[in-house]
Symmetry: C2
Subunit: 126 residues, 2 copies
DNA sequence: TCTTGACTTATAGTTGACTACAGGGCTTAC
DNA sequence: GTAAGCCCTGTAGTCAACTATAAGTCAAGA
């Protein structure tokens, strides 16, 4: 699969695909004899994982670290697990922060739709 | 309340507090006759709201726009409501993305704790 | 009054995550 | 075999959100 096809499939720019590979967020992609990227199933799996992590807001650095450890073999398994647990904690915290903000937004939205008085709407707490 | 006290209360740098004010993410804070910031209750309310929105990942620009509209008066109420609804949509999308990523992380974590075989752990899909 | 330390604005630098060239190589259709 | 269109690497630019610094002002204690 060419880089163009992958970029269209996942709706991500070719530049970004090359960038992810360069910074180690995905392992080096298979190439043709001419040096052109030819994504295999496994490469696509890494791309998908990378996009999933990024779209949740996890940093590139964490994924790069993980990829590096996978390539270093079994001895890094405990460290990999630790990394995954840390990222899960981050996501859980982020999720509850979003929920808090959503509640606050809901209060404000309710105030705007129910009343419409100036006083209720210039108070940041409302 | 001085900028130092506010920065300690919300665990945010003084520089960031000044920055938020400069870019209009919070309205101009009350000053002493000497020109020094003296945060009032309302100022604190804005700071709190700003921090809440930022920690959920909403962009500074959206808050600045909102603050600007609040200062322009009642005529902007419909536009403000629209902005709030847009931000809520964003947060809901972000939340479900996080949930998806959490599930994926959970699968990987389960694989690492249950088996520990190399094959299960070099496959990005696992 | 004078010094010390916190405050002011304005400007410049940093970081993370892209994004956009420049200059050149491969491939395929004619 | 050559022109057109992808693809390559490497480097430089951009953008959001800070973060740090410089040069100067204000305020409280000795």
């Amino acid at each position: 699969m060419t880089i163009k096809e992958v970029s269209e499939r996942y709706n991500i720019s070719q530049n970004t695909l090359r960038y992810y590979e360069r910074v180690g967020m995905i392992p080096r992609v298979h190439r043709t004899s001419g040096g052109i990227r030819d994504y295999q199933e496994e490469d696509l799996g890494w791309v998908e994982l990378a996009l999933c992590m990024r779209s949740a807001g996890l940093p590139i650095e964490a994924m790069s670290e993980y990829v590096k450890m996978v390539q270093q073999g079994d001895s890094t398994i405990p460290a990999r697990l630790e990394l995954l647990l840390r990222q899960r904690e981050k996501l859980l915290a982020q999720k509850s922060q979003i929920e808090e903000t959503l509640e606050r937004l809901n209060v404000k939205i309710a105030n705007y739709t129910k009343c419409g008085t100036l006083s209720a709407c210039t108070d940041p707490a409302q």
